[in-house]
Symmetry: C2
Subunit: 131 residues, 2 copies
Amino acid sequence: MRIGELASHTGVATKTLRFYEESGVLPGPDRDANGYRNYSSEFVDRINFVKDAQSAGLTLKEIANILELRDRGESTCHHTMELLEAHLVDLDRQIVELERTRRQLVAMTRRAAQMDPAECVDPNRCQTISG
Amino acid sequence: MRIGELASHTGVATKTLRFYEESGVLPGPDRDANGYRNYSSEFVDRINFVKDAQSAGLTLKEIANILELRDRGESTCHHTMELLEAHLVDLDRQIVELERTRRQLVAMTRRAAQMDPAECVDPNRCQTISG
DNA sequence: CTACACCTTCCAGTGCACTGGAAGGTCAAG
DNA sequence: CTTGACCTTCCAGTGCACTGGAAGGTGTAG
């Protein structure tokens, strides 16, 4: 699979794929005779892992680290677990925070919706936010 | 309240507070005769709002925008609501994503915990991640 | 032969949210 | 009178995750 194909399969720009390779997140793939990158389908999985890990708040460096450990297949389960567990804690905190903020925003929006539009022109306060 | 005091009250560095002022997130506070910033206690609330909004995924620019509208007290409820609602949708998507990733990580960690440590040294795969 | 989409490398720039450091002013305590 | 903590401005740098553009090679279709 060429880089453009992989890009459209994963929704990740070709620029970004090359950047990931340079950052150590993706290994350098095989090359065709003409020098074009030739990706195996495993790259799709790897990129999906990267996306998941990223949305879990891991940096590219951390992701590269995990994947490198995985690739080396060394007895790194312990380190990996520690990293994952730390991020799990972080993730939980984040989810709680987001839910709290979500509730706040819902309340704000509801307050705004129920308001007499005329009251919006109060020169000193916008009830949606300040209430 | 001076900037250092505000910093310790909010957990936001003095550098960051000045940066927020420059970015329009915080209004320029009163100044003492010696030129020192003198913050009213309202700033604590405002900074907490900034923190909440930030953890909800709003950029400083958007936050500055909302607060500016609020400060002007104009009939901006509609715009504010649109912005908030857009971010609510975003937030929900984010929470779902995080929960999905969370489940994945939990599964990973559990798999790792149940594993015979000896299996970790398999030269080709780390079961924690690749399984 | 040419147009065109696609690929290559390399290097520079972007946007965000800070963060550091220099150079200097203020003020209470010792 | 000095030390030290705190404050000021200004400008530059950092780290992250891309993103753009130049200059050129490849390969197929018309």
